[in-house]
């Protein structure tokens, strides 16, 4: 307590005010007080000058955000697993068939776009998820991904960067569209291999906003779990379609939203998921609208750049080497 008092007079004065009430509150349960004091009590616990930082290792892949997921009994797990068995065996059948056929694409013709995802009907949206800050009570943005009246995928919603007053959240205002992780049958994780390509092609109709493209390349250990490569998707807006071609060499590495000092080109053989996000930062609060026809890949022999950013060695002890 002393250190807090010494370091920050404002927090100390607030703490003092709360401690004075502390004697009365400790032995009263919030339920006894019709929930009135429950507003004060969590606030009393939340006053820390530094957030709880777990430096050494991470327990959850979701960074603690799956804490509220309801846990089910073993029996229920087995029953659910059996229900999914049929679908998984079908997937497995396809995999075996593909292996036996042994007919890979040998020539990737330049200028030809291989469509990875196209959105024309409800089934195409199955492997995609939308998230926003409201999902965890950390903001007021909301979004959806469905089929537009014209018959294409429509990622729309409203971003609001108003920060909820709970003393914990510092910034808010994002909506995110992400594909489910690449996987094989029986829920085995795998990676997409995009090595024959060097361009990402998206046919879209936007609203003039800039969106962020996210290509996740999840690693084995916790430090690499959140590795993600980003680039900006500038949209023109207006009623016409636009085809955005973005070379993979332009994507830069970041982890948990922080651009990394030590950069590396996107490992095209280890792509775990793809996503698009939009933020309300800097006064961009309001509705957004992104219609996507398809997301494809292309090989362009003219583009020879491997990585667009400098790779020189940083001076010692300035960045993690």
């Amino acid at each position: 307590m002393n250190s807090i008092k010494g370091s920050c007079s404002l927090i100390a004065s607030l703490n003092k005010a709360l401690l004075r009430r502390y004697d009365h509150i400790t032995y009263l349960r919030p339920t006894l007080l019709n929930g009135n004091v429950s507003v004060v009590l969590p606030a009393a616990q939340l006053i820390h000058t530094t957030p709880n930082l777990q430096l050494f290792w991470e327990r959850h892949r979701k960074g603690g955000y799956n804490r509220n997921v309801k846990r089910v009994s073993q029996k229920e797990l087995i029953l659910n697993g059996l229900k999914e068995l049929k679908k998984e065996i079908l997937l497995w059948k396809e995999e075996v068939k593909e292996k036996l056929e042994c007919d890979p694409i040998l020539v990737y013709r330049p200028g030809e776009t291989d469509v990875m995802w196209q959105f024309t009907e409800e089934n195409d949206l199955e492997n995609w998820k939308v998230t926003s800050d409201r999902d965890h009570n950390e903001g007021q943005s909301f979004c959806s991904f469905d089929i537009s009246p014209a018959g294409h995928g429509l990622f729309s919603g409203n971003v609001q960067s108003k920060v909820p007053i709970d003393g914990r959240v510092k910034r808010a205002g994002y909506c995110n569209l992400q594909s489910l992780r690449a996987r094989k049958s029986f829920k085995r994780d795998t990676y997409w291999d995009w090595t024959p390509y060097n361009m990402l092609v998206i046919k879209l109709r936007g609203d003039g906003r800039s969106y962020l493209l996210n290509i996740a390349s999840e690693g084995l250990y916790d430090v690499w779990w959140n590795d993600m490569f980003h680039y900006v998707l500038y949209t023109r807006g207006g009623p016409h379609w636009q085809i955005a071609k973005i070379p993979f060499s332009k994507f830069f590495l970041s982890s948990k939203g922080r651009v990394q000092d030590k950069q590396a080109p996107l490992p095209l053989n280890r792509i775990s998921s793809f996503g698009v996000s939009v933020a309300g930062r800097g006064g961009h609060d309001g509705p957004f609208n992104l219609e996507i026809d398809y997301i494809g890949l292309e090989f362009d022999p003219v583009h020879t750049e491997e990585f667009a950013y400098e790779m020189y060695k940083q001076p010692k002890y300035t960045v993690a080497q």
Partner: protein, 383 residues
Amino acid sequence: MHFLRNQLSKLGRQSLILSERYYPIRYDSNTSTDEKKTDDKNKNFVFEKQLTLQSSFENITEKNRDTYLAMVDVFLDRDVHRRNHVEFIYAALKHMETFGVHRDVEVYKALMNVMPKEKFIPRNMFQAEFMHYPKQQQCIIDLLEQMEDNGVMPDFEMQAILLNTFGRRGHPTIKYMRMMYWMPKFKNQSPWLLPNPVPNDALELAKMAVKRMCTVDLHSNVDVYHTNEVESAIDDTWIVSGMSPEQMQLLAQHSPEKSLRIEGPHLIWLRNQSLNYFVLKGDGKEYPMSTDDDEDMDDVSNLTFNKYGWATSKQKQVDVKRSVHEQRDGVIYAVCATGTSTKDSLLSWIRLLEKNGNPCLGQIPVLFKFRSNVAENLLVTSS
């Protein structure tokens, strides 16, 4: 100026009560009425002090760049030791937006200059490694992050300030270097460059938006009309219309039996400003499907001599190239933005288009297909 002085003197006193220290105030007024008012305020202040955190920034009535910088000056002159400067910077950062200075690099520099020079520079490797003066360093890191959030790029004077305050091993200096590496890379990356900040005038914005939408066809003309050119117009407003010669040609070919529709309002964003626009659309033209596509070239079960190569018996025809305005869900004939976004102004737009090179619009029926415009604020429910 006199008003400002009064304001600041009041503030000075309030902050004195808050910090419970007495330092000479820079601006002082000796009018008795003022004395009385501040006394009343101080009483309230003492009473509320325990529960609320109130900073002197909130009490300024006239909020602009000058008063903000004057507040920084008051803080600097108050005390030689500049006690509580970290708290002051945090309070100042919090109120930047209300003073409208959150995009001003000079103001950020003024705040950074509140930190004393030389004191926080680490003198050995242990100090450098273990974050020498962590509160102060974190404070300036937060300041730099706020700049980043608001899209403000630091300059080289800021580098000098940081080097003199935290040295080259300081974390804020390293953060500054990162910003100076990444921010210029994306500053002018957009293919549709816009001024920063975009103008506040709706007409200028509309011109930019229509021009931007028209970049799809480089021959497009962007015209600014006024509704008073039409006799029957009720609204008195401007119309920014975008149409290319190709679209005019397509419109001339449009059959008068089929109706056109005005769709909207759709939204377009120009940086942080948004604008409604409308589209003049017609049904898509049906093209005869070419029969070539039906034939499977990989099917070798029925080989003929002329299946491949030059000897093919297929008749060669010139294919009509589909224009960029002919989309799958309709043909786009024109886009516009009007000052009022009302049906009347859109009707004037159609009349003006008719007058300016599209006489066929006189015969074609035009329908309105409006989307219900839900107010933005209603969409967001308070949680």
